[in-house]
């Protein structure tokens, strides 16, 4: 069971390395387009605001907020559209270090009964303006 999940952000004013950047405590808005490849009777479609760590350490994750945007039938090849809006927290900021990276994303989960959930995600950067994501000691001196 699969589906095409396309996530878009509204009002992106700044990109950092090609990735949309949002200020801490601001509002992030967007839409999700889902096109199932077969008929799906989904229990829920969740849109979540999440962060996770990547790098040497075991992964940590945080679900800041989650919306249950749809319950019911999705027909094969028929696109459905859903809007979302979240108020971003003050932190943790996005980070790219030596052993640790902190990644933010909007994560869409289609909860399908008796089958594997279908996921789609779109990354963004949570950081104040003017801050470099990559943390290099030399650049700080």
């Amino acid at each position: 069971m699969s589906a095409d999940i396309v996530i878009n952000f509204d009002a992106v004013t700044d990109l950092l390395g090609g990735v949309p950047r949002f200020d801490p405590s601001s509002t992030i808005r967007g839409s999700v387009q889902i096109v199932p490849h077969s008929n799906v009777n989904c229990r829920h479609i969740y849109v979540a605001l999440v962060w996770r760590t990547e790098g040497r350490g075991d992964r940590d994750t945080g679900v800041v907020s989650q919306l249950d945007i749809y319950q019911g039938r999705l027909d094969a090849g028929v696109p459905t559209y859903h809007d979302f809006s979240f108020t971003l927290p003050r932190g943790p900021w996005s980070y790219a270090g030596h052993y640790i990276n902190i990644i933010w994303q909007i994560l869409v989960t289609i909860d399908v009964p008796r089958a594997k959930d279908i996921h789609g995600g779109l990354r963004f950067i949570l950081s104040p303006a003017g801050r470099s994501l990559s943390f290099q000691a030399a650049a700080l001196r």
Binding site: G55, D58, W93, Y95, P128, F135, A137, A139, L140, R141
Partner: protein, 198 residues
């Protein structure tokens, strides 16, 4: 705001207690190896653990010796709380308990990444330090009762990161003090500084 010593900056007493337990258990292995049918390999295994235990004792002795010459430093920062980008003044004071020829004293502002992961049944933690600012006090002879006092202007760089702690990953800001005493173990301490998002 006065800074408190980092919890991971171990004390000599804790190290001694740990070494005592370690050596007691190792000694049981050695005794069993030499006095029962368990045999020499068992005793050798115990002896190698005993060797590690003695190294831990020696580390404890070095920490204790360092404390004989100098008292724990007092560190204050000029702001009640720190945020990314903040400029602040660090006041450092440390009293000498005995005479000492100091090669140098190093004060450092450090951002430390600490990542913990499972490898088989072992839990491994790796760290990486970004030395943000380093200041050296020059070589000097200090008499017992003398106090070093120093003020430093520091800044949490605007392009850096706030303190972050999750289950396996941590970003810590530290102020470290290293007193290098000639012909004597170094005195090292680390102090946690919480940096908030700006």
């Amino acid at each position: 705001m006065q800074l408190t010593r980092s919890k991971s900056s171990g004390s000599a007493a804790a190290l001694f207690f740990f070494a005592l337990l370690w050596n007691a258990i190792s000694l049981v292995f050695v005794v069993i190896g030499f006095t029962t049918d368990a045999g020499i390999p068992f005793a050798l295994c115990g002896l190698s653990f005993l060797g590690i235990g003695l190294l831990i004792v020696s580390a404890g002795v070095r920490m204790m010796m360092a404390s004989w010459k100098v008292a724990d430093p007092d560190l204050w920062i000029s702001l009640p709380e720190l945020r990314v980008g903040d400029k602040f003044k660090l006041t450092y004071r440390q009293k000498f308990k005995g005479r000492a020829n100091v090669n140098h004293i190093t004060l450092k502002l450090v951002l430390r990444e600490s990542a913990t992961y499972q490898r088989g049944t072992d839990t491994v933690t790796v760290t990486h330090d970004y030395d943000i600012k380093e200041s050296h006090l020059p070589a000097r002879h200090y008499n017992a009762g003398e106090t070093i006092s120093q003020e430093l202007d520091l800044q949490i760089p605007p392009s850096s990161m706030h303190t972050f702690k999750s289950r396996h990953n941590e970003l810590r800001w530290l102020l470290t003090v290293d007193v290098d005493i000639a012909d004597w173990p170094d005195f090292e301490r680390a102090y946690d500084v919480t940096v908030l998002p700006s």
